[in-house]
Symmetry: C5
């Protein structure tokens, strides 16, 4: 069930999702001229994209960002492609949603199938990569949206939560850039190079994809700067809050400690305490205390602490 | 009402503000050779500027910074342009003030109209872009002014307010640079390229606009450095203030706590308290306390804390 | 025992581990045309890799990362190579595990020996360097794994331990990059240059090694960014924790200090204390204290501290 | 009085300081071929230097740093220059001291006048710019000196004052670099280009000026790094001081608070206090307190806090 | 005594240490074709190295790092060189130890003299610069060693001392790089250029010196990164320590303050204190206090503070 093939005009699109060794074996039978190493690559995870050129086909490995809603982390999904005159083979983990949707739509709906597959295998490849690249925009938008939410709450929000949010976005941006960067070279190669076995004249289309991926890259760069700025702002705010809290503690302690000492002195069990038996002693001492409080408050006000 | 046209000599300037689908339809009727995709673009918001070349006209998308006084945030406004021999079409949201003013002035005042439209459509485009670029200078000045105000108050102002101000300027500078940067390429293209259907010989003029936008860019770079420096200074000041406040609290606590303990000891309800019944007990204890205070103050002075 | 030689077809592989002056002397006898300076270099530690070209052989110095499990620090091991038609000499400290294993395997197992040595000395060199480069991947993986562990525990872990972990990874990444960077040039030279005395046609192989080492480099760059991000996050978290702790202390002190002062006042040994002999005096005072506590808590709640 | 002219051989040097519209009008009469826009520029302040080439003269705008002793801030002064065969016109605010001095010296002293004006207008321009560039060195030295003073006092000085000093130097360096940077291009143009109406063969001289201004630039770069380093050091020192102060407060509080509680307990007005009527009660309690103090001190010493 | 000359074969080496105006005069007599400006330069301190080419000699100014043991600061020493066919003149402050040693050795020992001076003046220059460059390695090693010592003690050492050490190393690295950087260009010039009056064929030798100085530069870059990392680590550690100290203070205060208040309440001199005359009042109150302590400790344990 995981190896499915669509045919339109004279081209076939074979799609493998989460291929087993058996699926690869069946693929080998169908396309005996595929290089064994490429078929092997389809079963393992590759870190970096590449284009391997052969006499009558290309083997392309690309990666696209995948957002995991549960962990809110951005990962990447791999797509392995065999393309030659009249055929396209896509091998994936099935987590690249646009590709899955495109295949399913082509399978269900003949109109869409003609639209995708009616102009040769190279055009079909363009359609798929274009969809995959365009699918990055909503992910950038999501990160952008999260950044803006942080921006709105940074002066009032829970600092701990904000640190966590910033660290998630920062990590996602790093992963995003790591995924996108090498794809830019691959797409630029597709734009520039010509292969005999692939119908050309798609330069304008690839140029368009290339523009889009550069746009994504530049927006990621901008976002990175914004996030770094927010991180600095949060740092400054926290320092400032520490300062504010410290001031309150200090003002209170500096006012209360002398009062404690004075009352402590008059609480000593000595045989003679000056003033202690004076009828207004309480009023005098309280007056003295009030004077200290007022004096301290005046001092702090003059220092600009209040 | 939103599609308005001015005519002078043999050129027409059509201006659309906040166009509806109906307006675009009327534009299509007027200029049937406009590419449908370009007309579509006029109804949506594009992230990046571009120049699309056609046989007999150019479609240009540009963005310019717009300052929102209410939020104090810097955004950007889009201008879509169709230009060919004898005509110029500008499509905007109506938030680019210089463009709005230029059109209104040309509509009202024949002298200005001749000045703008008397030398062909390409010159008219130059006049508009020149005004839009020059309008950036007061915005840079405003940010520069805000930066200088921060600089003046940084040693005495409310730190929380300063953090907020710095974060607003930093964000505005990021947005400003993001808006300006791609326009530099567009204007450089206008300076270098020649199109058959546009009267040339405006290189000097475009060179001038190009110089201006580079000046704006460099001033933004300088401002960025100044703001980063202020941010660091504020950080250092806050740390330093925390240190100062901590010192005061510590000095006070270190002096008062022993006094509290001594008076507390003499406040114990024990049957025998040494010295308690001595006639000078109060004086002795107070003297001891004063000695502690003086000793502590001497210590702190020697440590350079006072 | 430390100078061992393998022969296959017409090529010999001589391996020296921790060579003594005597070993080098014996090497000199065997290969009288080796430059004395190169032989001297084999006895000392060189900081930088190099390729010295001679009429009929190359002298190559390379370094590869070595992970010291005890200290968890990443160091580097040196490999000195003499290569010419029909012979390869490797001189090491014996700490480059892949090289040691390769030699031992070739010595033990004829199949492996044929595989390594069956296609000339230049191919043998490629096999060794390929193994050494590939051995870097698990080291990158280990650092990557450590980074991810930090990432998982950063919000709950022991901050002091996290600082230590981050500082170890940072140092290891610096050392790793310092070791890898100059090797990239050496391998690029091997890829580009041709030597008469070495059978060529290995460009594809060297290109492959080159790709791998660039991949390692790029992964190190990515890791560096992640680690810097974690360092910033930890800073922010610590500042935030200080703020939290300060708040708790302040809230407690600000509530308790006035209560202390009130009870202190009523603990004074004065002849007349207002209310003191009132039958409900205790209740009144406690009520007053409760009012203060409630008031303070209300204030802090309104300030968003609780 | 503000428009003054010197003549020597066949060249005239006209100097305007703080020109009024009237002065400019008189200049226009004297040099009717000056472009009106250039004359206008002389009355306003320009942000960026430039060289405008005309058929028979150059209009040059340059800026040089000016140190304001009162505010200790570094600003810049503008010099507008018209130069052609046989004449040089300098228009300034009169705040560029070297230019003012040069003119006054030439006016007073014939020997100096011959030295400056004896080799044509282009050589005179070189002499002036050379003096203006060389005048930057003492300003760099002053900033360097201030930096070194900070360096010497950073471990003992008043942190608040140091923050202020660093922020002033940082700002001055930004302004200095902003002023110097575009002049480098202007001087490089003077070095490379040739104008028919100016006697050439001054390449070596302009090269010399170019070297000097590059030297200034590089010293500013070095100073910037030093100042950034000092800023980081100050940050670290302040953090460290906060830590030290916190330790002292904590040690004191942790020792004193239990003593307070103990004495407080024995100060309670309960009918039965254990030990209270014991003849050695005071000694026992004080002994207990001393034990706590000794215990705490031992603990802190073991923790490495003392 | 300060002007000394060595002769070997047909070349002379004249060495001046701390030259006086008189020494320079004598040099002028000996070499009447030296440019007066160059001779003047020998008496002053130049900031930047240079090569001035003349018809029959070169005037070279170079700087090399000098370590001042007393202040532990890295400064630089200047060497002014006149070189032509058959002669070399070196003018220094006498603080460049390798040069001083080389001259003294050549003076004392004929073998060494022949080794240095037997192959022409250009080779002699190479020998001297090679020694001066190689002398940088132990200085780099010293800074590297200091860095490693910081690395070892950073988790336990005195933070104030560590800040000081880091700031010294950072400053030394800045000075070192400032000294080395421009020399790289000078040596590259010596490697590339050919002068008629100097026997060439030393390209390999100069290439070697060039390699060495680049190695030094790269090691300085690596060290800089390590030191920046250590600075960040120290920052994090200090923040963390502040947090730890704050926690201890807070825990203690939060436990002790309520006890103080309770004992204070029972210390009030009221006519009626509930429970006060109860025979177990002391036990009840102490029990209540213990309950508070246990409760607080439980709370802190659950919060992960203990």
């Amino acid at each position: 069930m995981s190896l499915r093939t669509l045919t339109n005009n004279s081209i076939t699109w074979t799609d493998l999702r989460k291929p087993t060794a058996g699926d690869i074996e069946r693929l080998r039978e169908q396309f005996p001229f595929f290089h064994p190493l490429d078929l092997e690559d389809c079963l393992s995870h590759l870190e970096r994209p590449k284009i391997d050129e052969y006499e009558n086909y290309l083997f392309i490995v690309m990666h696209f960002p995948v957002f995991n809603k549960a962990t809110r982390r951005l990962g990447s999904g791999e797509m392995d492609i065999f393309i030659g005159r009249g055929f396209l083979v896509t091998v994936t983990d099935g987590i690249l949603k646009p590709l899955v949707d495109d295949f399913d739509d082509c399978e269900m709906d003949e109109v869409i199938r003609r639209q995708f597959m009616g102009r040769g295998s190279y055009y079909l490849l363009y359609m798929l990569i274009d969809d995959l690249v365009d699918y990055c925009f909503p992910i950038v938008d999501k990160e952008n949206h999260n950044t803006e939410r942080i921006e709105e709450t940074i002066f009032d929000g829970d600092a701990r939560e904000l640190v966590r949010e910033i660290s998630i976005i920062r990590r996602n941006l790093i992963n995003f850039r790591r995924t996108i960067k090498p794809q830019m070279k691959i797409i630029a190669s597709l734009e520039r190079k010509d292969w005999e076995f692939l119908r050309g004249d798609l330069d304008v289309y690839w140029g368009d994809v290339s523009d889009h991926i550069v746009q994504i890259w530049e927006r990621l760069e901008d976002l990175w700067e914004v996030v770094e700025g927010l991180s600095t702002t949060l740092e400054s705010l926290t320092s400032n809050r520490i300062n504010e809290v410290m001031k309150i503690l200090t003002i209170f302690s500096v006012i209360m400690l002398p009062l404690s000492v004075i009352s402590g002195i008059y609480g000593m069990n000595l045989s003679r305490l000056p003033l202690a038996s004076h009828p207004l002693s309480f009023m005098i001492i309280i007056g003295f205390m009030v004077a200290i409080v007022v004096g301290m408050l005046t001092y702090f006000r003059r220092e600009g602490w209040l």
